[in-house]
Each structure stands twice: as structure tokens, then as C-alpha cells.
């Protein structure tokens, strides 16, 4: 067999060489499966990144994706792992005395990842863009509350068009990313999608949609270069595969795995675990229809649920029972508001309304199955607890998309399981949107509650505002308008060489990871 220099290798030669090369490369690669460079951290991540623009579309409001966005982009205002607010690209911010203007001081000496200088123009452009309805920013209702921007040195001022007390909190939350004005205007939306740049701790090195994202550290990051020079996000939506990834050593870190697997893996040599209560709660929406119009039924349904038992038996102890829609890390959390587990009292309340085990009150409870950890099993357990005191609930399983559709139409069943996130910890984004009648996401719509909540939306006195929300939460608990169940705990497994800083918001940020000493 000879090779014609002009024509290159023959087909047979190519095939033979290919076969041999393939076999050798494939079979002699076990080392490659396990190898992890010291400066690289590989994360088996549970959600794939759909789009690079962090300010528009479905992905912009996905809390889990924020870990990736926060790696490449900076937010107006930063947020610590305990949900505390800290300087980001804005170093200081506030309102004037009568709350008719806002001011924002812009960080100096920052550069975009293409080397161009960052400045107040980028802040103004990003805020103006976010506030325009046509750009499709899902949080436009917040960004449109300020306008008429002016720049003076590194200070940006704007008129308050509608007073929104949570404006600056939102600047550390969904869609609050600073985008590169000049670069975006030059390359357009498609160009940005192909080659995104930010001011964040990491730069995009390679991205294969649905497969992986490779980031390299930004050596000029204003917050200091991160510990790991390369970060690889492998998009592994299947929990079993994520367990296998970290167990085999192919990935260093993973999250959101079954608690039983977490307990097993954290005991394995070379691995360790973290569990952190996150800003995500499980709850049962009650709809103001049928039997739920009876306060005794609502309260009985709440008091007969042994939340601690659910956490201990179904979630391996990972979860914190809650009695309001505020988790302990939230601004309006009030530990004195309690709805006790008291099945005897629940039975007595039902008896007052003429119900009991022999004459049960009947309604439907809707739930997802597999959307959240043990969601269906939790509802099964609750239905069992209810049955003992005289509540006969029929379980209806639906897809999460169906839940959204029914909720938007206010057609949910009398009871419906759901989970609710609130990474800025403000009561407006938990109790507010979940319980205020005019909100498209509320289920309980009654005038008494709306009258209490209404004035709080524009309350300028922060202390008065938070106190007001606590009173709302207390009233809701007394009236039984919703059944808060528990605060979720996020399980994270990491290789011993990686030290992870868990984040109450749930966003697993690689810039906060360190090399274990």
C-alpha cells in the first residue's frame, strides 16, 4: 500500500488509521475521564443555559441560571451569600429626601472583558433598555419606575416616575445586569449571543448549547481574580447522572440531588457536602372557592399538617418548617407568628362546621410530581393526615405548565401545591405577589387582604413597610389564607479539593469557590 503524495491518503488508509486511532484513543482514556487540573473546577449543573442575554426571556427569571450570569456579568448591586446587599458596579445608591429622585455612584476603573472602559453610560443604557416594554425584560414593571437619567462624573441620577421601595433590592436580582452599551450596539443581539462580554469574574471561553460552558477567569476583575482559572459547567439535567458525575470524579461539584444520595455521597472518601436553607419554599395555595370559603376548614387543613414529620421522613431532615411565606432570612420574617400542629384543634374546628371523619369535607388538591423533591409524596402524606380529622382530598397531578395556566386564569383547585422563590428576601416578592388579589400570581383574592396589602406597595418608610408586611403575614396565618409548608435546603456535594460557599439564593457561584488547603 502506498500513499499518493498528491492525492493524500487513500480511503482505505484513512479508514484503517481512523479505526486504529479511535480504538486507541477511546480505550486508553480512563485517565482523561478522571483528570481534573488544579486550576479547573468542573460543575455538574442541573440547568442548561438557554440564552446569553440575562435581561430578557424565560432564562432571565430562572433563579438557578443566575449563577452562570453572575459569573460573566455584574449586577448593579451585589449580593452576598446570605442575601445581604453589597456594592456591585454601583458603589453607593439611594433616594433624595422626598423620594422623587434616585442617585447611584458608579464604580471607577472597571473594564469590559474586551478591554474597553466601563462607565456610567453603560449603567444608564442598561436601565433605560430594561425599562422599555419592547425589549421584553420580564421585570420591566420595576425598571420603568425611574427615568430621565443624568450623568455627572461617576454619579447617575434619575427621576422617580413611580415610587417603588424595592427598586434597589431588585438591582441585585433577576435581570439586573449591566450590559455593554457600545459593544451591544456594535454587534447587535445575535452578535452578543455569539460572543457575550460582561465585567464579571469570568469570561466565556467555549459554549456548546445544551452540553457545556467553559469559562476562564478575568485577570482584570475589579473584585480580584477568582481562585479557579477555568470553570466548566456541564449541563446535566438528570439527577442520577449528576450523582454519577461527582461519584466517578468526572465533576468536582454538583447540586440538587436526592437527599438520600447526598447522605451517601458526603460520607464517601474524597467528597464532602453542604446543606443550606435557600430562598425557596414549599406551600399550598388555597383558592377562595367552595369549601375554602370556610375559615374552619382552612385552619383545620393547616393545623393538621405535621410539617416536621414531613421534613424528617420524606426529606431526610433537610428542610425548615415555616408558618408564613417569609423564610428566616427574609426581611419581614417574624418568628412569633405560629400556626401550631394541633390535630385535635383541627378536628374541633372541622366539627364546628359539621365535618368529621364520618362526614368529611371534600375537595381537590393539585400537585406536580417530580418537579420539586418529593412533591407528590408530600401531598400524599398531607392527604393522609387530613383524612384522620375529616378532610377527604383527591389528588390531581398536573404539569407545572398547567399550574401556571390555571393560576393565571384563577382556576386552580381549592388547594394546589407550589414552590415560591424570593432571592431578595423582600416581603413584596413573597407574600406580596403571592397573596395580593390583582397580582397575576395570586390565588387567594379577597378584599380584606387586598385592603391591607395595597398601601404597603408604595410605603416610603422602610420600618413601617416591613412592620406592615409582618401584620399582613400574621393576618394571613390567623385567617388560614395559605398553607406555608417548609423552606427547602439545597444539597451540594464537592470534591475535597474544592471549598464551596453555599448561597442562600441558591445560585452556586464558582467565583466564590476556593481551593481547599
Amino acid at each position: 500500500m502506498t500513499t499518493d503524495a498528491k492525492c493524500g491518503p487513500s480511503r482505505r488508509e484513512i479508514l484503517a488509521a481512523s479505526g486504529a486511532g479511535l480504538a486507541l484513543s477511546a480505550l486508553l482514556r480512563p485517565g482523561a475521564v478522571l483528570a481534573q487540573a488544579d486550576d479547573t473546577v468542573t460543575i455538574a449543573y442541573n440547568v442548561a443555559l438557554p440564552s446569553w442575554d440575562p435581561t430578557v426571556g424565560l432564562s432571565a427569571v430562572n433563579p438557578t441560571i443566575q449563577a452562570i450570569y453572575r459569573s460573566v456579568f455584574d449586577q448593579f448591586i451585589g449580593q452576598g451569600p446570605d442575601l445581604s446587599f453589597q456594592p456591585g458596579l454601583l458603589t453607593a445608591w439611594g433616594w433624595n429626601e422626598d423620594r422623587t429622585k434616585v442617585w447611584m455612584d458608579v464604580r471607577e476603573g472597571v473594564r469590559w472583558q474586551d478591554g474597553s472602559p466601563f462607565g456610567p453610560e453603560d449603567i444608564v443604557w442598561s436601565l433605560e433598555r430594561a425599562g422599555k416594554p419592547e425589549t421584553g425584560n420580564p421585570i420591566q414593571f420595576i425598571w420603568s419606575t425611574i427615568g430621565n437619567f443624568a450623568i455627572d462624573g461617576n454619579r447617575v441620577t434619575a427621576d422617580v416616575l413611580r415610587y417603588e421601595p424595592t427598586l434597589f433590592k431588585w438591582m441585585a436580582f433577576l435581570t439586573a445586569y449591566v450590559m455593554p452599551k457600545a459593544y451591544y450596539e456594535k454587534v447587535g443581539a445575535e452578535g452578543f449571543e455569539a460572543a457575550p462580554i460582561g465585567t464579571g469574574p469570568y469570561m466565556v471561553d467555549a459554549f456548546e448549547r445544551g452540553a457545556f460552558l467553559r469559562l476562564k477567569s478575568n485577570p482584570h476583575y475589579w473584585g480580584g481574580e477568582p481562585a479557579f482559572k477555568t470553570v466548566i459547567f456541564k449541563f446535566v439535567p438528570d439527577a442520577t447522572s449528576r450523582v454519577a458525575e461527582v461519584e466517578s470524579g468526572a465533576s468536582d461539584v454538583t447540586l440538587e440531588i436526592p437527599y438520600e444520595e447526598y447522605d451517601r455521597l458526603k460520607e464517601k472518601p474524597g467528597l464532602h457536602g453542604y446543606t443550606t436553607p435557600v430562598s425557596d419554599i414549599a406551600m399550598i395555595f388555597l383558592n377562595d372557592v367552595g369549601p375554602m370559603l370556610d375559615k374552619n376548614v382552612r385552619l383545620a387543613a393547616h393545623m393538621s399538617i405535621d410539617k416536621r414529620a414531613i421534613v424528617d421522613l420524606l426529606l431526610s431532615g433537610y428542610g425548615e418548617p415555616i408558618d408564613t411565606l417569609e423564610a428566616p432570612q427574609y426581611a419581614a420574617y417574624d418568628p412569633t407568628i405560629k400556626v401550631p400542629y394541633d390535630p385535635d384543634k383541627a378536628a374541633a374546628l372541622l366539627a364546628e362546621s359539621g365535618y368529621g371523619p364520618d362526614n368529611p369535607v371534600r375537595f381537590t388538591i393539585q400537585t406536580t410530581r417530580g418537579f420539586k423533591p418529593k412533591d407528590y409524596e408530600m401531598i400524599q402524606a398531607i392527604v393522609g393526615m387530613w383524612r384522620k380529622i375529616g378532610i377527604e382530598a383527591e389528588i390531581e397531578v398536573y404539569e407545572i405548565a398547567k399550574h401556571f395556566e390555571l393560576r393565571a386564569q384563577d382556576k386552580l383547585a381549592p388547594a394546589a401545591f407550589y414552590n415560591w422563590g424570593n432571592a431578595i428576601g423582600d416581603p413584596t416578592t413573597s407574600t406580596g405577589f403571592a397573596m395580593f388579589g390583582p397580582s397575576p400570581h395570586s390565588v387567594w383574592d379577597t378584599e380584606d387582604l387586598d385592603a391591607m396589602i395595597g398601601p404597603l406597595w408604595g410605603e416610603a418608610d422602610e420600618e413601617k413597610r416591613i412592620t406592615g408586611w409582618k401584620a399582613v403575614d400574621r393576618y394571613i396565618a390567623e385567617q388560614g389564607y395559605v398553607i406555608p409548608l417548609l423552606q427547602y435546603v439545597q444539597p451540594i456535594i464537592a470534591a475535597d479539593r474544592v471549598k464551596v460557599t453555599p448561597n442562600v439564593s441558591g445560585a452556586l457561584q464558582p467565583a466564590w469557590m476556593e481551593k481547599a488547603s
Binding site: I14, S18, G21, L22, L24, S25, A26, R29, P30, A32, V33, L34, T40, T42, A44, A48, P50, S51, G57, L58, V61, P133, G136, P138, Q140, F141, E193, A206, E208, R209, G210, A211, F212, L213, R214, I232, K234, V236, P237, D238, T240, S241, A244, E247, S248, G249, A250, E399, I400, A401, K402, F404, E405, R407, A408, Q409, F433, S439, P440, H441
Partner: protein, 332 residues
């Protein structure tokens, strides 16, 4: 005949398009409801409906989509905010390479099993092979996938568990056919890595198909071995294995090929779950996300693509069967 089959295929595809379009709008799960921001007003929701064209009647939406199809576009994905046609074209090569590799494995495994089983007919080894074949057939592809993840990914970590290529390699290739292009470029580091990533999902997909091929081909071989031409070959002094390979196999291939074509389409359907388990970035994995997000334009585009693949595969299988069987060619 080919023209008629193609025309029928196009008609079928048009039917699929209509059914899928209407079904997706009738089944529960409003995509806009998933996008409603917390403080949205009625006007905001109406604006969202209009942005994605859901404020129009189903008939009007269908006509717009048909217009898009004629210009080679499938609309814009709601969740990925990109053209559906482009997204499908970028993910199709991954699924095609996986499916073809799985088919090759299935044909080789199934063929070997059939020939060996036919050769060892009446011995204990035949029973053992048949039992193994039955097991491969009874266990669905996704169970094979999970078993392989455990065995070859965790217990004995020989093969990568997820993805299509080691993220540290990620070559800048012009086509999406990573395996093919890397072989043509003689880039064996990439080819080996891609091949290793494909091996487990391809095996999981291949095993049930291999079992079917093995079973059908073996029956056809056994039948062919009792034909006169096989007897004549034996009289001429051919060994049993030579009779199988030189005489019986060619005649047994026809029915096997036709069945393989049909079963291959089922196997393509299996890529949806298997790609998910291995986080393999193909059409199947994308389809699951599209369904979760109620991304109607993307679901429509994917279903049409899978429909087109099914039709083309069946057509190819029919043509292959005709070429292999002269009686079919002459209408006999």
C-alpha cells in the same frame, strides 16, 4: 415508485404538521402563562400574547407558521430566543451520529448473534444466546443507559457519563458532525473522545435493536438453511459457516432489513430519554426542554424533523429491500 413514495411521505409530513400544531394548542399548558412576571398587568399579558403571536386564531397562527416553513424557517424558539431551523440544524448532527453509531453496533451485534446462534443450532449455546437476546430485548434502552452509567461510569469509570466531548477539547470544527469531521481531519484525540462519549448512549440504544435483528435474522437464516441452494452448497462440501455466510445470509437479509428500518425509527424515538440521561446535546435532549418550557415553535419543528427522519428511513429501508430482492424489483 420512488416518486409516489416521496409524494406520500410529503403528504404524511403535512398531516403530522397539522395534527401537531392543533394538538399543541389544545392540550393544557399556556406558554405565555409561564412567562408572566410578578407585577404584570392585563396589558402586559396581552403584550406578551401578541409578541409570540398567541393572540391570533389557531388558523391564523397555522398559516403564519406554514409561511415560515416555506421560507425554510420554523419560527422562533420561545425559550432559546433563536430561529428554530438553526437550532435544529445545529443539534441534528449529534443525534444523527449517535443514531448511526447505534445502528452500526446493533447490526454488528445482532448479525453476529444471529449467525452464531444459527451455526450452533440445537446446542446448549443456542439456548444461552437466545436467553441473552431475550434479556436485551426485554430491558428498555433507558434502563440499559442507567445500568451503563453505574457500571462503566461509576463502578469502573472507563467512559465519560455526560456530554458529547470533553469541554477542555471543544474543537473549532465547521460541521456539527464531530466524529466524522475529526476522523476526516485525522484528529484522533478528538475522535477518540467523541467516540468514548457516544459509546454508552449508543450501546444503550443499540442493545434492544440488536436483539430484534438477531432474532429475526436468525429465523430467516434457519429458514434459508433448509432451502435447496443451501443443501446443494453442503453437497459441494461447503462448511456450515460458509453456507450461512455465502448462501443463506444474502437471502435472509431482505426481511431483516425491512424490519430494521422500522425498528430504527423506534430507536430514534428512544434517543429522547437516552440523550437526557447522558446529557447528550442532540435533538432528543432539546425536545425534553422544549416540552417542559412549552416552547411550541420548537416542539413543532422537532416533531416535523423527527417525522421527516422516520419517513426517509422507512423509504431507505424499502429501497434497500427492493435492491436486495429481485422479486420485489420486478413486482413478483
Amino acid at each position: 415508485m420512488l416518486a409516489t413514495r416521496l409524494a406520500l411521505g410529503l403528504l404524511t409530513l403535512a398531516g403530522v404538521a397539522v395534527v401537531v400544531f392543533v394538538l399543541l394548542r389544545v392540550v393544557p399548558g399556556d406558554p405565555v402563562a409561564m412567562m408572566i412576571p410578578p407585577g404584570a398587568t392585563e396589558a402586559d399579558i396581552a403584550r406578551l400574547q401578541a409578541r409570540y403571536g398567541f393572540d391570533r386564531s389557531i388558523a391564523a397562527q397555522f398559516l403564519i407558521w406554514c409561511g415560515d416553513l416555506l421560507t425554510g424557517e420554523f419560527g422562533t424558539s420561545i425559550s432559546l430566543r433563536q430561529g428554530v431551523a438553526g437550532l435544529i440544524l445545529r443539534h441534528l448532527p449529534a443525534t444523527l451520529e449517535l443514531a448511526v453509531l447505534a445502528l452500526e453496533i446493533a447490526v454488528i451485534l445482532g448479525g453476529a448473534v444471529a449467525v452464531i446462534s444459527a451455526r450452533l443450532r440445537g446446542r446448549w449455546a443456542e439456548n444461552a444466546i437466545d436467553t441473552g437476546n431475550g434479556l436485551a430485548l426485554a430491558v428498555p434502552d433507558f434502563i440499559w443507559a442507567l445500568a451503563m452509567v453505574f457500571l462503566l461510569g461509576v463502578l469502573w469509570p472507563l467512559l465519560p457519563i455526560s456530554g458529547r466531548i470533553d469541554p477542555r477539547l471543544a474543537p473549532d470544527y465547521v460541521s456539527g458532525f464531530l466524529l466524522l469531521e475529526s476522523i476526516l481531519r485525522l484528529d484522533f484525540a478528538v475522535a477518540g473522545d467523541v467516540f468514548a462519549h457516544m459509546l454508552m448512549p449508543a450501546l444503550a440504544l443499540a442493545l434492544p435493536l440488536a436483539a430484534i435483528i438477531g432474532r429475526v435474522l436468525k429465523s430467516a437464516l434457519v429458514e434459508a438453511m433448509s432451502e435447496d441452494y443451501a443443501l446443494l452448497a453442503r453437497v459441494k462440501g461447503f462448511s456450515e459457516i460458509a453456507v450461512i455466510l455465502r448462501e443463506a445470509l444474502r437471502n435472509a437479509l431482505g426481511p431483516t432489513l425491512a424490519l430494521t428500518g422500522v425498528q430504527f425509527t423506534f430507536m430514534l424515538g428512544g434517543t429522547v430519554i437516552v440523550e437526557r440521561i447522558f446529557s447528550y446535546p442532540g435533538l432528543g435532549n432539546m425536545a425534553i426542554d422544549a416540552v417542559i418550557n412549552r416552547d411550541l415553535p420548537l416542539i413543532q419543528g422537532l416533531v416535523l424533523t423527527f417525522g421527516a427522519m422516520f419517513i426517509l428511513i422507512n423509504l431507505a429501508a424499502d429501497i434497500g429491500a427492493v435492491l436486495l430482492n429481485p422479486r420485489l424489483r420486478h413486482g413478483g
